[in-house]
């Protein structure tokens, strides 16, 4: 060990199988952004079929092969594959790895002043298991019958009798879950154990708190889905009937090879036991990013920092006992539905608290409209719309009409698309200078923001009207129904919005790659921020900090009266802050 210190590690050890949390964070980031882009492309294909059902796709219709799109016209099975894989890729391969794997991995240890994650090798393994999971998912597009086509929720019995792609999906999911579990153990231990001196729990940046709660959610909610995945694999490969009742007649053929005795609802329980906390996995780190950016750009402390933390803890806790509100329509009686509707209403309160705290934080601030701030600000109303539209879905009686309609799609996309993904953009614009030592170009950033903001609303706003009109989700062609045909024009509008939204990402992609080499070079702390990551050099070296910092104050000490600057970094002593330099 002694002689190794000065030895420069080989390229592979440094960039491929690296144990440095920053390299792993960047690996996660690049991979997850690629998946995010892929998931977006799948959606743009689907939008063609939705807007112009049964028409030949122009220009690119012929490249998908006769099995998926004969003559350039999408087949329902391919449409269903796209739908299922869009959901899976976006959630499990795109957003969660970005929020937790990339931002969490890169920023969190810096924010707590740690030299690395607690278990660096585990961290590397977590990335590579995720990578394998991603490869498995992508490969599944090329197996006979195409990728999984039973929806991202994979409800059996449909998924039990589906094509081979479903088996690949399950293997991929088992990999992704394992990766998340490894990651979450690492995160919790790191946050609890490796904080520097003086950094008490209530001096942690809100982002770190969000990561901590998220990790607990991943740790405790993911294993049931892993178990469910194993059970479904058993159903598919060993012929068991965990999710299959007796007397199934598929396509007119009595299924005699299965024993029966299982229940399709079992999967839904185990799935939603994960998937509801998963919603908070998608949103909490995003809230963390937004809180960081807002505090920094309002130049004042977050309002209700502690209330936000308590709300987050409460959210995390409650998210485990609301899952059956996804199952109101599965034949649930009054008592249980009342229980879950009540917990659902209760869980809306801490969300309101957090949102209120963030918007009150703007009051009496000095708001700098930087690019990350614009994304963070846009996040607030978008998240508000997403959250509010959850209300009618959480009331069982209103859910009767809205369940499984476009209203649901609009609701959760408002939470995760203009919500979480805007927060991700905010994070990218905010921490890019830390990672690369260079700023992203802000003109391109503004263009990216305004176009994205407008078009993303054109995509998702019409869905509420479609849902109100009663149009079911996951329909290959909604015009077969009178109520669907009546609102087809909204679908067309939504589709055009989606394609324009795709175009709006071009400035970002250009910016992302060009600025790496041509961006303006910056100092350690270009945003004049207070948290510890801005103490480390940009980009931080292996081991992060030249000297181990000591923390003297809370995370958001901006505009302190009597201080020489409008920000007092956590690691600077009080005397140094007030002395005029």
């Amino acid at each position: 060990m002694s002689g190794d210190h000065h030895h420069e590690p080989s390229f592979i050890r440094k960039y491929v199988f690296s144990v440095d949390h920053k390299v792993i964070g960047v690996q996660y980031g690049i991979t997850a952004l690629s998946f995010l882009f892929l998931g977006f492309c799948l959606m743009m294909l689907m939008r063609w079929q939705l807007a112009y059902p049964g028409e030949k796709m122009p220009y690119i219709g012929n490249i998908f092969g006769e099995a998926a799109m004969p003559g350039g016209v999408m087949l329902p099975e391919f449409y269903n594959s796209l739908g299922a894989m869009h959901g899976t890729i976006m959630i499990f391969l795109g957003v969660v790895p970005l929020l937790v794997g990339a931002f969490g991995n890169y920023v969190m240890p810096l924010q707590i002043g740690a030299p690395d994650m607690a278990f660096p090798k585990l961290n590397m393994m977590s990335y590579w298991v995720y990578f394998v999971g991603g490869v498995v998912m992508i490969t599944s597009f090329f197996v006979p019958g195409g990728a999984a086509n039973s929806g991202w929720t994979s409800y059996p019995p449909l998924s039990d009798i589906a094509t081979a792609g479903q088996t690949w999906w399950l293997f991929g999911m088992v990999c992704l879950i394992t990766s998340s579990l490894l990651g979450s153990v690492n995160f919790i231990v790191t946050i609890i154990q490796l904080r520097v001196e003086g950094l008490t729990m209530f001096r942690l940046p809100f982002f770190v708190w969000a990561q901590l709660i998220t990790s607990f959610l991943l740790l405790l909610a993911f294993p049931p889905l892993e178990a469910a995945g194993v059970l479904q694999l058993m159903d598919r490969l060993a012929g068991t009937s965990f999710f299959l009742p007796e007397g199934l007649v598929v396509s007119g053929v009595l299924q005699t090879q299965i024993s029966g005795g299982g229940s399709p609802l079992l999967w839904q329980h185990l799935f939603w036991f994960l998937a509801h906390p998963e919603v908070y996995v998608l949103i909490l780190p995003a809230l963390g990013i937004v809180a960081e950016v807002i505090a920094n750009n309002t130049r004042k402390p977050l309002w209700g920092y502690r209330a936000m933390i308590y709300s987050t803890i409460f959210l995390g806790f409650m998210s485990f006992i609301v899952w059956a509100h996804h199952m109101f329509m599965t034949g649930m009686g009054t008592k249980i539905s009342a229980f879950f509707a009540t917990t659902t209403m209760i869980i809306s309160i801490p969300s309101v608290v957090i949102l209120t705290a963030l918007v009150i934080s703007l009051y009496q601030g000095a708001i700098r409209f930087t690019v990350p701030m614009l994304f963070a600000l846009a996040f607030l109303p978008m998240f508000a719309i997403g959250g509010l539209t959850g209300l009618p879905l959480g009331l069982p009686a209103a859910d009767i009409h809205l369940h499984d309609t476009y209203y649901v799609i609009g609701h959760f996309h408002y939470v995760v698309a203009p919500g979480t993904i805007f927060a991700i953009f905010a994070g990218i614009y905010f921490w890019y200078p830390k990672v690369t030592g260079r700023m992203l170009n802000s003109t391109l950033g503004y263009i990216h923001f305004f176009f994205s903001f407008i078009f993303i609303n054109i995509v998702f706003m019409p869905m509420f009207w479609q849902g109100m009109a009663g149009v079911s989700r996951r329909l290959y062609n909604q015009t077969v129904y009178a109520h669907g045909d009546a609102v087809q024009s909204l679908t067309v509008m939504s589709s055009w919005g989606a394609w324009m939204l795709g175009l709006a990402q071009i400035p970002f992609i250009i910016n992302f790659f060009i600025s790496r080499f041509a961006g303006k070079k910056v100092s350690n702390n270009p945003w004049h921020a207070t948290t510890l990551e801005w103490l480390a050099p940009s980009p931080p070296p292996h081991g992060n900090f030249e000297t181990v910092p000591v923390v003297y104050r809370g995370p958001y000490e901006y505009s302190v009266p009597g201080a020489s600057e409008d920000f007092n970094p956590q690691h600077v002593t009080t005397e140094a802050c007030s002395s005029v330099s």
Binding site: A118, P223, E226
Partner: protein
């Protein structure tokens, strides 16, 4: 390298009283509880939902063809291995490397015996009788739960053998680090034992 740089890898954190590995293992066990929890939930859900009569009815004790003798023997073996595991840790703690290693070896042998009995006298016997996972929901659960448990045992054996063999070098470099790792392995091992304590009655006796 990183192990030396990172704080609290070996010594416990002054405030939390834990070294990283131990906390990590406990968190990992928490996720394992939820993993097996989902399977227990499956067991209960399907058992409650099973019809009273008919082919999908829950099998009674005799119909399961599970021998409480073999199950009970395996229970004892696993409990014994838990004891030897914890004794191994005591020996390392008291600086008796040789004895500690012996106890580790006994643990590994007992674990292998458990798996061998499981495969030879239970799985092989059942496959011979044409009882496979698809036979009924009960056997689906039986094979899945015990199979997953057996995988955990095999994983544990691999880790224990590693610490008897190549991993033992660490003892010479840093005794406390090595003992810590044995403690973590032990925690995992006792958890596997604990799962079996529940599996045995629900599958063999009820």
């Amino acid at each position: 390298m990183s192990a030396e740089v990172l704080p609290y890898t070996i010594k416990p954190h002054p405030v939390t009283g834990l070294y990283n590995g131990k906390f990590g293992v406990w968190l990992f066990l928490a996720s394992e509880v939820m993993l097996f929890g989902a399977l227990f939930s499956t067991y209960i859900f399907l058992r409650i939902g099973a019809p009273e009569t008919g082919p999908a009815a829950w099998p009674s004790g005799e119909e399961t063809h599970l021998s409480w003798k073999i199950g009970g023997l395996n229970t004892l073996i696993l409990i014994l291995s838990s004891v030897t595991m914890v004794l191994a840790w005591v020996q390392f703690k008291m600086d008796n490397f040789g004895k500690g290693r012996l106890y580790l070896a006994i643990t590994a042998i007992l674990a292998i015996a458990f798996v061998a009995i499981k495969f030879k006298f239970e799985y092989a016997h059942k496959f011979h009788m044409d009882i496979v996972p698809s036979t009924s929901v009960f056997f689906a659960i039986y094979y899945t739960m015990t199979g997953l448990h057996a995988l955990h045992i095999i994983g544990g054996v691999v880790v224990i053998c590693y610490f008897i063999g190549p991993g033992a070098k660490l003892w010479d470099q840093n005794r406390e680090y090595y003992t810590n790792r044995i403690e973590c392995t032990g925690l995992y091992w006792h958890f596997v034992d604990l799962v079996w304590i529940f599996l045995f009655p629900i599958l063999y006796l009820l």
